[in-house]
């Protein structure tokens, strides 16, 4: 018996075919990984499966019977459960309140039977080894536990097919491991699991079958036991992809950025960055590894002038810039690719052209006495769009219409196009497709080879290892380890990230 089958699903939107003749099958007790770049049609397909869209063509079969979903309600009733990438939880509610929302067990006059609700949560939690306290407030829970609350939610509604959208993108390495233990548990209980991901390593390690989407079509499926990451990546992108960053031995020059005993505290006086000291030299890439929330964000904010430290010093090219503004640092020679491109890196409603001069609109090149100079701005945009391969190559469109990867390329273009001695990149490839990752990494290495000092902060350990010449590991605001990349291993770094101290 096939639990879930899609036959020839086609979905057209004005101007694009989002899904074309997609067929796939999933059995009970199977884990199916759906991989593909941004815009490959994964999300559309899942929305069809979840009843948010109706397919123009094709059929969905559950247990060999054709079904039609008019809305998510139908899909839920048929036993399909969706765990969204951005959790659909109410932070100020307790776990059990979130779980029962919409299917509340009630007595007379709609009074909620609290005990029944809590018992149900405890029962499911125990059966699948989820270990969630039904009375905890969701806002107090770490992300990994919130995800389990979502899982309990869909299980309570009787889901037989569980769909996860990018389930690991917000998890720490430990939480990822725990997540896949839960997935195994669910699989062994006979559930069908579909997870959408762009992390090929996870697809290969944890699934029974990999289905690759590109341009709205299934371009292949692979057996995770026999396939390599490179092969899947090539299927996704449609050409050979180099997952290893090529780089020559670093020619290290003099110190360009000096950070001394930096201390940042939160509003309650608790340390966020606790005595960080390091030097960044020309011609080298230094990576900062660490689980999200261990002070990396604050460290970057202090270095780039977005936050003032409680103590310590930042020296840029021999000048003390600790209390200088971001613009002064920019003028001295610092580029910054911020961690959240939507919030900090660009203005979505502005055109690509305008975004490309956000950091230098006031310079005489682009600004006259009163008005902006249209010609040089347009020329700058045309040049950079071409040079950095920003697609679509239309400088006048709003930046928000670009894909994540192209938005990031636009920011990199703006920051890298100047001749800057010091570059700070925070999460340079978060949420970016494989092709763009490859490109951005190459740009970072090129800058290094031109003699720039580059600081790369990333929560993706693989990325830090691939790029860096030297690695600092941060844990609870401190640098707990410093290693030369060639003399360390992911295992060693992972232990430091988890809090092991010397």
């Amino acid at each position: 018996m096939t639990r879930l089958e899609l036959r020839g699903i086609t979905k057209r939107f004005p101007g694009v075919i989002a899904n074309q003749d997609i067929s796939l099958k999933a059995e009970p007790g199977q884990v199916l990984a759906l991989v593909g770049e941004n815009g490959a049609g994964k999300t559309t397909l899942m929305n069809i499966l979840y009843g948010l869209y109706q397919p123009d063509d094709g059929q969905i079969l559950l247990d060999d019977k054709p079904v039609k979903f008019k809305g998510p309600g139908d899909a839920i009733a048929a036993g399909i459960g969706m765990v969204h990438q951005h959790f659909m939880l109410v932070p100020v509610f307790t776990v059990y309140e979130n779980v029962i929302l919409g299917v509340e067990p009630t007595g007379a006059a709609g009074v909620i039977k609290t005990k029944v609700a809590r018992d149900e949560v405890i029962e499911i939690s125990n059966r699948y080894g989820l270990a969630v306290d039904p009375d905890a407030l969701v806002e107090d829970l770490p992300v990994g536990i919130r995800q389990r609350v979502e899982i309990i939610k869909v299980l309570l509604r009787g889901a037989q097919v569980l769909v996860f959208d990018e389930p690991t993108s917000v998890l720490t390495p430990q939480e990822v491991e725990e997540f896949f233990v839960i997935v195994k548990e669910l699989r062994d209980a006979g559930k069908t699991i579909i997870f959408i991901t762009h992390k090929l390593k996870e697809a290969i390690s944890f699934s029974n079958q990999i289905v690759v989407l590109r341009g709205g079509q299934v371009v292949g499926s692979a057996d995770p036991k026999t396939v390599s990451e490179e092969e899947v990546a090539a299927m996704m992108v449609g050409r050979e992809v180099d997952l290893v960053v090529d780089k020559e031995v670093a020619r290290v020059g003099e110190v360009k950025l000096r950070v001394r005993n930096l201390m940042v505290v939160d509003d309650y006086g608790r340390p966020l960055v606790d005595g960080v000291t390091f030097d960044l030299k020309g011609g080298e890439i230094v990576g900062v590894a660490g689980v999200q929330g261990n002070g990396q964000t604050e460290l970057v904010e202090v270095i780039t002038g977005l936050r003032q430290p409680a103590k310590g010093q930042v020296e840029l090219l021999g000048v003390d810039v600790t209390f200088k503004s971001a613009r002064e640092r920019h003028a001295l020679g610092m580029a910054h690719v911020p961690e959240d491109r939507q919030d900090m890196g660009m203005v979505g409603a502005f055109s690509v052209m305008e975004n490309l001069i956000l950091d230098s609109y006031y310079s005489p090149t682009f600004a006259g006495a009163i008005t902006l100079k249209r010609q040089p701005i347009a020329k700058n945009a045309v040049d950079l769009v071409e040079q950095f391969d920003i697609r679509p190559p239309m400088p006048a469109v709003a930046a928000s219409t670009l894909s994540g990867g192209n938005q990031q390329k636009m920011i990199v273009a703006r920051e890298f196009s100047r001749d800057v001695p010091v570059i700070v990149c925070s999460q340079p490839t978060r949420g970016v497709d494989v092709g763009s990752i490859e490109y951005i990494h190459a740009q970072i290495v090129a800058k290094r080879d031109q003699g720039a000092a580059v600081l790369v902060v990333s929560t993706e350990l693989d990325e830090v290892i691939a790029l860096s010449d030297r690695i600092l590991v941060m844990f609870q605001g401190r640098v707990v380890a410093e290693r030369v990349t060639s003399e360390t291993s992911p295992t060693e770094l992972g232990l430091y990230m988890a809090g092991r101290t010397n």
Partner: protein, 418 residues
């Protein structure tokens, strides 16, 4: 993430705040000594029973000067302790205690050599908290579902007007029902523009307030002046609850009131229970916190909001009727005098919790009642300044004490399905 337990060391900011609170308490003590004691002589007599009660309590008689010195000493002690040691997390509570003591001193000073019915003031405190508590409930119902309601003032004023006109025509109960319905109509307008057309909710609220003020003022001048029979509604009289109403002090304060007071208590309990114990409440709150989450589990976000806002309007209109049918039986231009905005402050002060709203409303009701009684006692403070008391309390409360109030996360944000 592990949370690091902090040693009990106050940051500079916290220490400063503690010291400022201490200084405020000390200043209150100084004010008692300087302003009240030189002008207080004789005895202050506080009546504890109304004349028609079955059990009569002897009035409380205190020597003015002596008790003022005592109260000043207590204030000084509290202030000193707060300044040097700090009450830490309980500081706010002690500030409240200090303010209460100061008010007591004010009353002793004002009553020195005179008679003052303490019971009368308590009873009027409860009566005057009605429109504020109900107005806050109207706000809570809307905002818990994610629609900002600053149109409470308009709902009160509209309810007051409709209540008196219909009340004059068909009697008190009819007026009450019509006032309640009028609030629902205004609320429906708010919901319609806020939800259907996603107009900025603050602006819709302001428009409703201005519209109601303009319309009622116009109709008062054009119609009610020439037809005084339309501005003469029967007043709902106090109804004493048997047995409970005979208890000294508590009886006349709580159980010898109009139906408005009893309805307020019932509504507070009902809405608190509804919001926090029932399916309707859970869904309403979920829509106000994270409408998308509610939508994905099959809850109709906009319908839930329409219902909540309309219910809020019903409560708001009912509260408006208190101004006319519940007290004087006639309508005056802008007679709500900003009580709707005070209700808004009470709602925020109470962190969107019905029971807290009742408590906050009592504070405002007390200051309202206090200023009126002080005017009767003819204290040497201009009555205009006394009339400011409730608004001053509002500013102090909103600016000083609210601090960490957190509105429902989706408050004011229209929900757009993708």
């Amino acid at each position: 993430m592990s949370t690091v337990k902090q040693a009990k060391v106050l940051t500079k900011g916290q220490r400063r705040r503690a010291q400022i609170l201490g200084v405020i308490m000390l200043l209150l003590s100084v004010a008692v000594v300087w302003l009240f004691i030189p002008n207080a002589a004789g005895q202050a007599t506080f009546g504890l029973s109304t004349p028609d009660e079955a059990i009569q309590l002897d009035p409380l008689v205190v020597p003015a000067t002596g008790s003022l010195w005592f109260l000043a000493a207590v204030l000084a002690f509290l202030g000193g302790t707060q300044f040097f040691r700090g009450f830490q997390s309980k500081a706010t509570i002690f500030l409240g205690v200090a303010l209460l003591i100061f008010v007591a001193a004010l009353l002793v000073w004002a009553t020195a050599g005179k008679d003052f019915s303490l019971i009368g003031m308590l009873s009027s405190t409860i009566a005057r908290c009605v429109p504020i508590a109900l107005g806050a409930l109207a706000g809570i119902l809307c905002e818990r579902s994610g629609v900002i309601n600053i149109a409470i003032e308009g709902m009160l004023l509209g309810g007051a007007f409709v209540g008196v006109v219909v009340g004059s025509l068909v009697g008190g109960i009819g007026g009450l029902l019509a006032a309640t319905a009028s609030g629902a109509v205004l609320a429906w307008f708010l919901a319609f523009f806020a939800i259907r057309y996603r107009v900025d909710q603050i602006i819709v609220g302001i428009v409703i307030n201005i519209f109601v003020l303009g319309l009622t003022s116009f109709l008062t001048a054009q119609v009610l002046v020439s037809r005084p029979d339309l501005n003469d509604a029967p007043i709902l009289t106090a109804w004493q609850i048997p047995i409970l109403g005979d208890i000294p002090i508590i009886g006349p304060t709580f159980f010898n009131q109009t139906w408005f007071v009893y309805a307020t208590f019932i509504l507070v309990a009902l809405i608190a229970f509804g919001l926090f114990r029932t399916r309707w409440g859970l869904r309403t709150r979920s829509v106000g916190e994270n409408p998308k989450a509610a939508d994905t589990v099959g809850i109709n976000v906009n319908r839930t909001r329409y219902i909540a806002v309309t219910l809020g309007g019903l409560v708001g209109g009912f509260a408006g009727a208190w101004f006319t049918i519940g007290t004087v039986g006639r309508f005056d231009e802008n007679m709500t005098g900003g009580r709707g905005f005070i209700a808004l402050a009470a709602m925020i002060f109470a962190r969107w919790n019905p029971i807290g709203a009742l408590a906050a409303a009592t504070v405002f009701g007390f200051s309202d009642s206090l200023q009126q009684k002080l005017a009767v006692l003819q204290v040497p403070i201009p009555s205009e300044f006394l009339a400011m008391a409730p608004y001053l309390v509002t500013i102090v409360v909103v600016a000083g004490l609210v601090g960490r109030a957190r509105a429902p996360a989706a408050d004011g944000q229209p929900y757009v399905k993708e």
